[in-house]
């Protein structure tokens, strides 16, 4: 299991995957909005999305776990 951490405080603009989806390492799984920039969130490793802990439009904090990738 690997945690996906938000590197900035901002809000969730798009979620690009659903629980159960297979992902590759460095695949974009969501896009955050902060400092007027669209900031991609990348999968830290290949695997399957086990949890999504973010909602479109909702705020996230720096360091928050926003998803979990399972093997």
């Amino acid at each position: 299991m690997a945690n996906v951490i938000s590197e900035v405080s901002g809000s969730v603009w798009k979620v690009l995957v659903a629980v159960g989806d297979a992902v590759e390492e460095d695949q974009e799984i969501a896009i955050l909005e902060s400092m007027k920039m669209e900031i991609p969130v990348l999968a830290p490793c290949a695997g399957t999305i086990a949890e999504l802990r973010m909602e479109v439009g909702a705020p996230v904090g720096e360091g928050d776990v926003i998803a979990v990738v399972g093997q």
């Binding site: 590197e7 900035v8 405080s9 902060s34 400092m35 007027k36 920039m37 669209e38 900031i39 991609p40």
Partner: protein, 511 residues
């Protein structure tokens, strides 16, 4: 004693000294795939160039004199790619290369000779810290702190450290005083070992977690480069040295560029999106500007919204300080500030011109940054940039907002400021400006909002800056390389030899 016997005795003494900590310990290292100190020197130095200093030095304590060949720190001079250097290689097989009276004298001599003669100083680190019982009690105090210049850095010559094992005590301190630090995965660096730390704070602490590569490449920024093996670490040291002069009084070394060194300069348009809210990895853009295969990124995993890179332009070393929108949208956080400051100090100290590639939405604002003294770091950066005396050229590729416009070399903070036609010099993003300045947001009054965004965008274009001569040229992005080469040549001066004033060379080594 006749000469024959004297020479036999000499050879026997030499053989004992070269045996280091003994075959059992050396064999154990071999089985772990780790080089010993002399093997490391063999691959660091050009063949046949090692001139050892202190082979017959041993501990001043009689009871361990015969088990401390070279007193655990092998020192001397040699050549790296035909350039003279001084070196200290820690021999972990001899009392863990712990710090002692005699090997302290060896380090001091290397430091003094390197400084006096303008040679880089290289530390191959792996050491346990203070030797016991030497350092205990009042007698221990009497051997500590006897050299008031032991920790004074004026950067007369470059210092380089390789962290190649457990590094505590001198290997840690010298790494933290160095201009470049490379770490092998599996090596550790900390104030004290995991074992000592666990006892002191009464918590189990793992050495790797305490001072492994993740700690120093991601969180502290104390390590500039990460590698997998001793051999790769030493190759990385050689590569880093290739960008730097041997001392402050020499220009950065020019290497005639290879015939195929010109990159695909047109591809830069493919990598940098026109929509300035879209992110990209600036390293791809840099590769369209500098000589092909000439880059070496420093602190790649730390403060990543700023990318710091050594590179060459037409064979001349340059320091690239670039925004990287790929991380945090290019917003500059405290780690990125500290990384930028350390890079300014490095380049200014060793006559390396600076190129800023700018695309940043401002400093990353928020409670976390304030807690870490962001305003102080931002002004420290401004203080540093105003003390830089090597040539500086700033290229504004897309956005450059707020105070960070100045930190990234805007205004008179660079010798030349160039803009791409896509440059956007607002104090903040036009949409945010419409809201903050005029109280208009998109939802309530979309027509007025769009008008204001258009108006604010127009005022902040490259053309507005060019009309006021606040940018010296608006350039075709594909010609960035050509402009930089010509302008750096101008700013190197008539003799083509630029030695800075090194006003930053006494700045601290850690930020």
């Amino acid at each position: 004693m006749p000469y024959e016997e004297i020479l036999v005795d000499y050879d026997e003494r030499k053989t004992r000294a070269l045996a280091m900590g003994g075959e059992a310990k050396l064999e154990k290292r071999r089985s772990q795939g780790v080089l010993n100190a002399r093997e490391r020197l063999d691959i660091l130095l050009d063949p046949g160039t090692f001139e050892e200093s202190g082979l017959f030095a041993v501990s001043h304590r009689k009871e361990v004199a015969d088990k401390t060949p070279a007193d655990g720190k092998i020192a001397g001079y040699g050549k790296v790619r035909a350039r003279k250097v001084a070196v200290v290689a820690n021999d972990f097989t001899v009392m863990g290369a712990s710090s002692s009276v005699v090997n302290g004298k060896k380090i001091r001599h290397m430091r003094e000779v390197a400084t006096k003669n303008g040679l880089p100083l290289i530390f191959l680190g792996e050491s346990t810290g203070a030797r016991m019982p030497d350092r205990m009690g009042a007698e221990g105090r009497a051997i500590l702190g006897q050299d008031p210049y032991e920790y004074r850095r004026l950067r007369e010559t470059p210092w380089v450290s390789a962290l190649l094992g457990a590094c505590y005590g001198s290997s840690t301190w010298y790494a933290c005083l160095s201009d470049f630090v490379v770490m092998r995965k599996g090596a550790t660096m900390a104030v004290a070992s995991g074992r000592v730390t666990s006892k002191a704070i009464r918590q189990e602490v793992d050495s790797e977690e305490l001072g492994g590569w993740q700690m120093h490449t991601q969180y502290t920024g104390l390590v500039d480069a990460l590698v997998d093996s001793d051999e790769e670490a030493i190759e990385t040291v050689k590569k880093w040295l290739s960008y730097f002069p041997s001392n402050q009084n020499e220009p950065a070394p020019h290497q005639p560029p290879a015939a195929d060194s010109v990159p695909d300069t047109g591809a830069i348009l493919d990598y940098v999106p026109i929509d300035s809210n879209k992110v990209y990895d600036v390293r791809k853009a840099i590769n369209c500007v500098v000589d092909r295969d000439s880059t070496m990124e420093l602190k790649a995993r730390f403060g990543r919204s700023i990318c710091t890179m050594m590179a060459r332009l037409d064979g001349h070393p340059v320091g690239i300080l670039a925004s990287n929108p790929m991380f945090k949208g290019g917003a500059i956080d405290v780690d990125a500030c500290n990384k930028a400051i350390s890079f300014l100090v490095l380049c200014d100290s060793f006559n390396i011109p600076l190129v800023f590639l700018v695309d940043q939405p401002g400093f990353l604002i928020g409670i976390e940054g304030e807690r870490r003294a962001a305003p102080g770091r931002i002004m420290n950066w401004m203080n540093a940039i105003s003390l830089v005396t090597v040539p500086k050229i700033s290229v504004i590729m897309r956005k450059s907002y707020g105070q960070a416009y100045l930190n990234m070399g805007g205004g008179r903070n660079s010798d030349e400021v160039l803009c791409w036609p896509t440059a956007d010099l607002g104090f903040m993003a036009p949409g945010v400006g419409a809201n903050v300045l005029f109280g208009v947001n998109e939802q309530d009054d979309p027509v007025r909002y769009r008008e204001l965004v258009a108006q604010l965008s127009k005022d902040t274009s490259a053309w507005g800056l060019a009309a006021l001569y606040e940018t010296h040229a608006v350039i075709d992005p594909r010609d960035t390389r050509a402009h930089l080469i010509r302008l750096l040549d101008i700013h190197r001066g008539a003799q083509g030899r630029r030695i800075g004033q090194h006003l930053l060379s006494s700045w601290p080594t850690t930020y």
